[in-house]
Symmetry: C2
Subunit: 366 residues, 2 copies
């Protein structure tokens, strides 16, 4: 049956309590104290999809509280670097942040599940798992160990595999490949001989141009186009199997979160749900045009060969088995996601996938 806890759920369950036939003005004032918080984003303003989701969140929170609860948003680097948002929220340098939790896989690989498991759930499945499948509760059970509360607040949808200077025709082509790749998936690719590189956004282009690295992945057509990779590495691979439905969270210092009036918590949950569907829709809206421009500018689209996908999948499975043995947080989240994935694709392949297949064939025939 319907889960009516957490996230969207707690809100509905508690609604009746908030409904009185007449609420005098002083009660409203009490439940709506003036609060000013700061939010540190992991993203620059130029990413109007990712950063835009946090911007919409903060504006909505202010608007729905008649300006009483204001969260001022800061781009990556303005208060703390993009990769230190969790730490800043954990120690209350800022009360809240917008970040993909997988940036912190170095602290604990279980951080990956808040954002994306390589070969995990697609974007819609992530929402099903978060809102109704216990994912939100499991992720927050883990985040609480870092004194943080998180709410899903967007999705990039399935990402691209990145820009390669040379074609990848077999798993041999991965050996020694210097690849700028985000976070946790580097540990999978290492097993196939890739040399993963952690490079901040602004430094990727020159590294790729000079040949210091052989390949780089970022997000998808719309965001990648801005960074100009197509000018120096023309093979554009897909799919980004390490990020099938990546979700940035808004995160809150747990003590500060617990101090919020219930009304403001509800506003945050609802505003985050709006940012979630808004961002998914925006990526779907802007990616087709960007893809066409990239191809017109010379980008060569290439699917990863089947043997590469299979080798990566097997390497991922091995890594997950090892981590599950040594890390109970990882095991709990992994078991939940993998079981959920099996159920989801069982259904997905029927109506949804068959319809998309038919429409894609029609398109390419026409």
């Amino acid at each position: 049956m319907m889960k009516r806890r957490g996230l969207v759920g707690g809100l509905a369950a508690g609604a009746a309590a908030g409904v009185a036939s007449s609420v005098p003005a002083p009660a409203i004032a009490q439940s709506m104290p003036e609060i000013r918080w700061r939010m540190a984003s992991s993203f620059p303003k130029s990413l109007d999809t990712l950063y835009g989701g946090a911007d919409l969140f903060c504006k909505t929170v202010a608007e729905l509280t008649d300006g009483k609860f204001q969260i001022q948003l800061f781009a990556a680097g303005e208060i703390v670097p993009g990769l230190q948002v969790l730490d800043a929220v954990q120690n209350n340098t800022v009360e809240c942040g917008q970040t993909p939790t997988y940036y912190y896989f170095g602290k604990n690989p279980a951080f990956t599940f808040g954002t994306a498991l390589p070969f995990g759930l697609n974007a819609r499945m992530m929402n099903a798992w978060f809102y109704h499948g216990g994912g939100h509760e499991l992720v927050n059970k883990f985040l609480a160990k870092f004194n943080v509360y998180g709410i899903p607040a967007g999705n990039t949808n399935c990402q691209m595999g990145g820009w390669f200077r040379k074609e990848i025709k077999s798993i041999d082509d991965l050996k020694g490949l210097k690849f700028r790749v985000g976070g946790f998936s580097g540990r999978i690719l290492q097993r196939l001989g890739v040399v993963p590189q952690q490079i901040a956004a602004g430094d990727i282009y020159p590294a790729l141009e000079k040949g210091t690295i052989d390949a780089a992945e970022w997000v998808g057509p719309y965001d990648d186009e801005k960074l100009g990779f197509y000018k120096v590495a023309k093979f554009y691979y897909y799919p980004g199997w390490w990020e099938p439905g990546p979700c940035p969270h808004v995160i809150f210092n747990l003590d500060k979160w617990n101090e919020l009036p219930k009304l403001y918590k509800d506003v945050c949950h609802t505003a985050a749900a709006q940012s979630n569907v808004w961002m998914m829709a925006k990526y779907d809206h802007v990616n087709p045009g960007a893809l066409k421009r990239l191809v017109a500018a010379g980008a060569q689209l290439r699917p990863f060969p089947g043997e590469v996908m299979e080798a990566c999948f097997n390497a991922a499975k091995e890594l997950y088995a090892e981590l599950s043995k040594e890390n109970p947080d990882f095991k709990e989240l992994h078991d939940s996601v993998v079981a959920y994935r099996g159920e989801q694709y069982l259904w997905w392949q029927v109506a949804e996938y068959t319809y998309d297949t038919y429409m894609i064939r029609l398109r390419t025939k026409a």
Copy 2:
């Protein structure tokens, strides 16, 4: 660039205006008058996904306004029958409703675009079109002629093709087939010899059992299971090409909507966006289990044969061309959706579809 109007948009654009450094209590009271409205749903309470989306909407509106703006929800038939929600809202019998606009295709076939165009956009693409592709504005330009304002507030995701007493092996099997099918798509199927039947939910099962009809479609595994069709018609076809991403709207009497304080309009937009992502996630969550139970109970899954899909697609195209000639509302919305569909599948087939394909193959291999 980002659309910051309408729907989610207007909200963000107007946020700055609502932000004052100190808002005295009387101002809040003024902007939050006590309002009691009624909402008529087209759905029964037993559909905890569809009806549940409206329920969450009403509870959220009350909660976020501290109980000042309360909308009481009524199931289909409690105030007006499910198919008369638009009329009831238009003439202010109730201030608002929850309904799929395509129920009213008899008034004007352009009503179909608010919910689903056969062979149109999938669920995620619907959101991209609504939120960022001008769909919300175009649908409301049309709805305004009926004195109604609508906001997308959910999605069933791609539906199933329905329950058939006999297998459909060729287009000849459609001739004379008495098929209970929702709304507008009957006009397409008629061209192939189907005899479409309009039958209310509760009457479908006995009609199918007695053989008064040969087939019936409803929604998908979770909702269909409740109606028990698998006991009397074992062939369960897919995909429901006439409903690839159907969106129920919350609709408001336009005069009443215009009287709402801006804060309450913003609350409605944000709450509807939450219901949207909540319902999509809920259908994805509950359908896999229902599908397994149905198959265990004897349901035989069947894809529509390629020639049937092609004949239906061609019949749809013919109908759309005819309607576009005679109906400028239909033409404007149709041109927008069809152009958008071409762009969307161009991108969808790359990362998203390739990833899903790989994961589905893995699943069936394992």
